[in-house]
């Protein structure tokens, strides 16, 4: 467990495991990596599994993301491994730099860190082929490493597990001739600000939230779209609202994906609406 607690180790483990890696799926069908380490968009896990492996192959990805906000900064990194396009295992570390808030509380370098261990099972369907969308069921187990501030803010627990059901489909030529990708995710979660502010609070605990993504592909290498994600609002002391983004993802080849987005996370820990630029790099094999 000690070894697994470090996402970097999992990366080192996963890449050799993918020695029988395959890239038999079509370009872009592995998506990119969302901030909690699952294959998806930037904020929302999709039904797709990481990498490009088919039912005979395995695949793996590693990612690094930065989101610069007016008062904070989010860094995320991690890796995912997919077995036979059926099961995805992922590990990621989120580091939320408290910036302005850190200075206000006399601790300028303060940050909130969490580890996220994910598993996703493809239940049915195929993203591209067949009449049905691809359906997947996933869990994200989150462990907060810095609980002092979330606890002061009223969070009840320092760990929690999200469960989600996602449906994704790529419709060939459906957006005025261009390919259209849609995704809907239903998540059961108690996480405050994705888990960075702990789990549960005076206003409640676990609840069901909705998330969605819509993208158009002007070219097989590029996806342009938007995402929306509800969040619970469990802390009177640190109210929160939904998150959303506008993104462009570029897939120059099956080994690399680069995503740029303008993200809005809503108010965080009492500080004004947090909007800023998001950049993410993903490597696949």
């Amino acid at each position: 467990m000690k070894l697994l607690a470090r996402p970097g180790c999992l990366l080192a483990l996963a890449l050799p495991l993918a020695a029988h890696a395959g890239d038999g799926r079509l370009l872009a069908t592995g998506g990119v990596t969302e901030i909690e380490g699952s294959a998806g968009g930037g904020l929302v896990p999709w039904a797709v599994l990481a990498g490009y492996g088919t039912r005979e192959q395995s695949g793996a990805t590693a990612f690094r993301t930065r989101l610069d906000l007016p008062d904070y900064r989010l860094d995320a990194w991690g890796a995912a491994f997919t077995w036979h396009n059926r099961v995805e295992l992922s590990a990621a570390r989120d580091r939320f730099d408290l910036g302005t808030l850190g200075q206000a509380i006399g601790d300028p370098g303060a940050a909130l860190r969490q580890d996220v261990f994910g598993a996703k099972l493809r239940l049915a369907g195929d993203l591209v082929y067949g009449p049905l969308p691809q359906f997947s069921l996933g869990v994200q187990h989150k462990r907060l490493l810095d609980f002092t501030i979330p606890h002061l803010a009223g969070a009840r627990r320092d760990s929690g597990t999200d469960i989600y059901l996602a449906a994704s489909q790529l419709l060939l030529g459906a957006a005025a001739g261009y390919n259209l990708l849609w995704n809907v995710t239903l998540r059961s979660t108690a996480a405050n600000q994705f888990g960075l502010l702990g789990f549960g609070g005076d206003r409640g605990g676990r609840r069901l939230v909705g998330e969605g993504s819509l993208a158009v592909m002007p070219d097989p290498h590029v996806a342009v779209g938007a995402e929306y994600r509800q969040k619970p609002d469990n802390l009177s002391f640190a109210r929160e609202s939904h998150a959303s983004d506008l993104f462009v993802a570029w897939f120059p080849c099956k080994h690399v994906a680069l995503t740029a987005a303008y993200v809005s996370l809503g108010p965080i820990a009492g500080l004004r609406n947090q909007r800023g630029w998001y950049v993410s790099l993903q490597g696949s094999r």
Binding site: Y129, A176, G177, W182
Partner: protein, 142 residues
Amino acid sequence: MKRHLSCLATALLLLAGCASTPTRNPTLYVQLGGRNGIAAITDQLLDAFARDPLVAPAFRHVDIGLFQTHFTDYLCQLAEGPCRYTGDSMAEVHRGMHIDEATFNAVVQDLITAMNHQHVPVRVQNRLLARLAPERKDIIYR
């Protein structure tokens, strides 16, 4: 929060609506450049096959001249052109070939390469790919 979700649902429906607005004319056949355009795509496709390690072995003993004609007729008919494909069904043609997902996608990628080579616009490419996609279930794992 509910309002936002219904907003997203509306956006989805609107997009789906756009998707189903008829784009009847011109036919895909015309957009692909008629039978000559399709024959040129098939030639490029055969070049791409020859360079593709996943696909080339399957065509080693195939009469390429015959395949050229039949495949062009097949695409031409699929694109609503004035041709008749007289060969067997996709399930029968590919029986016993044990084509897997990766090989199928390799052929799709080779077709995209071939169409790029012939400067077929992305939207026209998607139109053809959308008509080919339903055939996959009859072609793979047989």
